[in-house]
């Protein structure tokens, strides 16, 4: 009886408070919904850039960024831009590397700051370089050490970098054109780098249109590396026997996106499919992405320039499912296959960079993965340039939902990274860097 009296009293007080503050139950429900599904806004942070590819933030909002054929720059919190390290022929940079160049998809690509940047001022950058060609690179069918990861010290005033050290010198590069639809030099060049759990550096590479690459673990192509800040293998990497120990996973086509799930630190990659099956994949130490474009394997015969990645009938549009059956993105022949969580319903639309959304401002999307899509509308596939938001199952083997980021416009979203302000930043091929906020 006393309990009932207390409940009545509390209810009366709550009801009075709701009337007093103009609230009612529907308003509370509406407010709740508003908190869960965020309101999205976007603004241009920079424009007029030339192929901006990737960004890296410091905790105070300082933003380093790369332009594929120009070099590395930084935008300070006050909005000033300093051109730090250019490529061969670049103008206006404080210093430059004459060995650095761009061609096709290759150039200065990924950038990321060391976990201990505040004390060591260290920045990592992925770029194409001819410094370590040696006696290789004379044809497309031999070793070509044409991509590197560099380490720099950034000056305290953010106006220069120094002490370049090349910590990885043998990522493979495609030096000449070949008989493929996108057959120019620099194809499938990888390039995304990120800092993962424990401060280790993760490096995504591409198959560089060489058929044997993804399943040949003596070469760094079509693999994901996990290394320390000096380029040494993580001691727990577990690739198959005889592999380069820097390899965390292999059997990839062209890793353009890597990020780590905030809830458990698990690595996920985003990859662009070969006119079928873009993929989001949860990585397993030593696992196989299942991409094997080599000729005379998996029931295939000879292919143009020994690469079956666009077969069969590589110069004509055809049913993506037929291509997928001929050269699968995730070939179930492999017992160590890492099945994808998402395959874009069998379509290829240019899935690239990826970033997990962090911060309660993202509401129900907090902790979900985003990926930038850069479709070219080949063979009746919708172009669909967009940013997707994936709710990935805990085991990483499927998605629960995929939602399109409600931006109100389409661009080729090349680079995605979270800022320290819990905003998502994206570089577009059109030359802008956008800030996307959620409230």
């Amino acid at each position: 009886m006393k309990l009932v009296g207390n409940v009545k009293f509390i209810s009366t007080v709550l009801a009075s408070a709701m009337v007093l503050f103009g609230l009612h139950s529907n308003a509370i429900a509406g407010h709740h919904e508003g908190m869960d599904v965020p309101s999205i806004k976007s603004s241009v942070v920079m424009s007029g850039l030339e192929n901006p590819w990737d960004m890296a933030f410091l905790p105070d909002g300082t933003m380093f960024y790369t332009e594929k054929c120009k070099g590395l720059s930084v935008r300070t919190t006050g909005g000033k831009v300093h051109a730090l390290y250019g490529m061969k022929g670049s103008k206006g940079y404080k210093s430059s590397g004459k060995d650095l160049f761009c061609d096709g998809q290759a150039g200065m690509l990924g950038v990321v700051a060391d976990r201990n940047f505040a004390s060591n001022r260290t920045l990592y950058v992925y770029s194409t370089s001819n410094k370590y060609y040696g006696s290789g690179c004379k044809t497309n069918f031999e070793k070509c050490d044409g991509n590197i990861v560099m380490k720099f010290k950034v000056a305290k005033n953010l106006k220069s970098v120094s002490g370049r050290t090349d910590i990885v010198k043998d990522i493979q590069y495609k030096p000449f054109k070949s008989d493929q639809p996108f057959g120019g030099p620099g194809a499938h060049n990888g390039g995304r780098i990120r800092i993962g759990p424990g401060g280790y550096l993760w490096v995504g590479t591409g198959d560089r249109h060489r058929g044997i690459c993804p399943q040949d673990n003596s070469l760094l192509c079509g693999v994901v590396l996990r290394i320390d800040g000096d380029g040494n293998a993580h001691p727990d990497n577990n690739p198959p026997a005889g592999s380069d120990k820097r390899i965390y996973t292999y059997g990839h086509r062209n890793v353009q996106g890597i990020d780590f799930r905030p809830s458990d630190g698990r690595a996920f990659t985003a990859e662009h499919g070969p006119w079928h099956n873009d993929e989001i994949t949860a990585l397993v130490n030593g696992g196989n992405g299942g991409w094997d474009p080599a000729q005379k394997r998996g029931g295939r015969s000879a292919c143009p320039d020994e690469y079956c990645g666009y077969e069969p009938n590589q110069m004509e549009g055809m049913d993506p499912a037929v291509r997928a059956a001929y050269t699968p993105m995730s070939d179930t022949r492999f017992k160590d296959l890492m099945p994808p969580a998402w395959n874009n319903n069998g379509f290829s639309q240019g899935t690239g960079s990826a970033a997990f959304l962090k911060g309660s401002n993202w509401g129900i999307w907090e902790g979900r993965l985003t990926a930038g899509i850069m479709g070219i509308a080949f063979g009746d596939t919708p172009a669909g340039s967009r940013i997707d938001i994936y709710d990935i199952a805990a085991d990483g083997l499927s998605i629960k939902t995929v939602t399109r980021m409600p931006l109100g416009f389409s661009k080729r979203f090349r680079g995605l990274v979270m800022g320290p302000d819990n905003a998502l930043y994206t570089a577009t091929d059109e030359g802008e860097i956008y800030k996307i906020t959620a409230n």
Binding site: N51, Q105, P181, F182, G379, E430, G431
Partner: protein, 112 residues
């Protein structure tokens, strides 16, 4: 006197004619070209032909240049590393569509 007037009048008419058509691209419809460009070309070459990623800038080119390239691709002739893709894209283009695209791209400008 009458003859001189006729000559001056004819010159004036000719100048007016030139001024009126100075922004016009003979043989191509820019508006139709822009519409066609936005159907497929924009996905690789970016807005207003500014170029994107490894796909080159194609705006600001002479009409004869774009026309010649598209006709060459349409004939199935390779002229660069992305020829395979361009041949597929150019195959269905009509003469009129090529003329319209060339007219549009000559002066197309990207503004964010």
């Amino acid at each position: 006197m009458g003859g001189e007037f006729i000559i001056k009048f004819t010159r004036g008419l000719f100048l007016l004619f030139l001024l009126y058509f100075s922004g016009y691209s003979w043989g191509g419809d820019k508006v139709a070209g822009e519409a066609r460009y936005k159907k497929t070309c924009i996905n690789c070459h970016g807005p207003a032909g500014k170029g994107a990623a490894s796909y080159p800038k194609i705006s600001g080119r002479e009409i004869s240049y774009v026309t010649s390239k598209l006709e060459t691709y349409r004939d199935g002739i390779e002229i660069g590393p992305n020829s395979g893709l361009m041949i597929m894209m150019a195959k269905p283009l009509t003469d009129e569509e090529i003329a319209n695209l060339a007219a549009y791209l000559k002066d197309a400008k990207y503004t964010n």
